[in-house]
């Protein structure tokens, strides 16, 4: 009567469980969505008049007349930080002992790690899509056409997975949800040591140098290229490369730390 459930059934069950948990704590989702949307409105409101739109024709017009296009990637990148929830889910389960219960059952250990990653990914996609929708409503219009939204979304996804991996590694290593939460600490340097409000050329000396070492820079520039300019293949490619390398590195550490967590002491 009992047959060992396949890997995918196990994954489905654990993923569903986490999704239920997210749905039952909807308020926990709000802060990040709010911050991202806030960026979009406030920066557009405060800076849009100066830099883009009505200021077109001035030397400051690097947004090709549409500042929403220019600032949307910042909000998207901020939304993609919601991937950091993965580590928090995992650590909550370790702290509550649910993790041990799963370990005492014949469940693949990979499933236990993968499920929170998937839910983190879903969060990233949903939050980024929502922000994008808001952006579209207030006038975002990718230079490369609608496919631009999909490109931005895919970059956000890879970037979000990088943060998910980081939070899993940090959480498991510290063994506390504070450790996983600390992943969001990276948020400020990641977002602001970057060409957030103006193109990199317009940054002052030290900030320009810092931004050059910040992978967020390349992700934002890549998103911007499709939103503002059109197909600039090398910039686009650099964005995928930066996000991809970041994700690969953090996922590698997540896997190592997860293996440690599931190992018997």
């Amino acid at each position: 009567m009992i047959t060992k459930p396949s890997f995918f059934i196990q994954l489905g069950i654990l993923t569903k469980r986490l999704i239920l948990r997210v749905l039952r704590r909807p308020l926990a989702e709000l802060p990040n969505i709010f911050i991202s949307a806030f960026f979009l409105f406030v920066y557009d409101g405060a800076l849009g008049g100066v830099f883009g739109g009505t200021a077109s024709g001035t030397p400051f017009d690097f947004a090709n007349g549409n500042f929403v296009n220019f600032i949307l990637p910042v909000s998207i990148v901020s939304a993609s930080l919601s991937g950091a929830a993965s580590g928090i889910y995992l650590v909550e389960d370790i702290e509550s002992g649910v993790f041990k219960r799963y370990q005492s059952m014949p469940i693949s250990r990979w499933v236990i790690i993968l499920a929170p990653m998937i839910v983190g990914a879903i969060r990233v996609l949903l939050q980024a899509s929502l922000i994008m929708l808001i952006g579209k409503i207030i006038g975002a219009d990718p230079a490369v056409g609608t496919v631009g939204f999909l490109i931005v979304l895919s970059l956000a996804f890879i970037w979000g997975m990088g943060f998910a991996g980081y939070s899993v590694a940090a959480g498991v290593k510290s063994g506390s949800s504070q450790g996983a939460q600390a992943a969001t600490f990276l948020f400020f340097p990641a977002i602001f040591l970057a060409p957030t409000f103006v193109p990199r050329e317009a940054l002052k000396g030290w900030l320009e140098t810092a931004a050059a070492y910040n992978p967020t820079t390349y992700v934002i520039e890549s998103m911007r290229s499709v939103m503002v300019e059109g197909w600039v293949i090398d910039v686009l490619f650099r964005g995928y490369l930066a996000a991809g390398i970041f994700a690969a590195i953090t996922l590698f550490f997540a896997v190592i730390s997860a293996r440690k967590a599931t190992e018997k002491a």
């Binding site: 009567m1 047959t3 059934i9 069950i13 002992g97 059952m105 014949p106």
Partner: protein
Amino acid sequence: MLAVEVKNIKKTFKTKKDTVEAVKDVSFSVEKGEIFGLLGPNGAGKSTTILMLTTLLRITDGEATILGSDVATEDKSVREKIGVALQDTGIDNILTGRELFFSTARLWGYSTKDSETRTNELLELVGLTEAADRRVKTYSGGMKRRLDLGLSLVNSPEILFLDEPTTGLDPGSRRVLWDEIKRLRDRGVTVILTTQYLEEADELADRIAIIDEGLVVAEGTSDQLKASIGGDVITFSFSNKLDLENAKKILNDCKQEGNDLRITVQDGAGKIPSFVNELTANNIEIEAVSASKPTLDDVFLKVTGYRLEGSETSTKSEEVFGENQ
């Protein structure tokens, strides 16, 4: 085949500061269909033993088999045969009882339909049908323990490990759980449980191993253990120190506990008059005297040198901390 066979297992934890020998040398065997109790105080190594036997901790040294499968090398097949309810319960607070049973059944490999059936059966078994659709967050401590027990039964395990299943429950809820555990035993499930309650070991366990500081210090049925005391216990109480000191010289092989002296003799009730005569003849005033069959507490005192519970004057914590009342 034995349900559980444990041979000289050890567990050493290495932390940054020092190494802890949580389990020094534990051996016991459990027959199929019995309730086996591991009785011991806080820190005795009960949980560590359970975690090793349920494949959740690596055994440092020694070996253990569950229904013939080696815990260290055949951990997969061991996990399929056992049910586990750990001490710090891993329960998903935000899900409902029904959801927890259902998803656990699915994870064990039941079809969707069978999982539903199993869920209803188990909710009924542990008396949570009424509360099934409430989030676990709203359950009382007793309900959570019953839920935990139910979850450990989803795969119809042949061997069930329960780590302190009744700690923190009121006497009523404790009894409900005891009855459930006995019913399981009557259906053929082998149960290994840990407890720090003498009464629980006495009432529930068919056989008991007393564990202290990582060592098994006594093993047997409750009656065997009590018989090992070698007779009945007579307790003399004195109202002043002088009488007590004098009495000590007269009563051979007595043990002092606060203002009481205890001796172990055959036929305790029959011997009381002669002891009383002898003491009064020496002008010693006795406040009270009684004879009783030995309890597990007496056994515990004999094998460990301190009491697990009850008498406040000779608990271990007092030996360690001095002024702690």
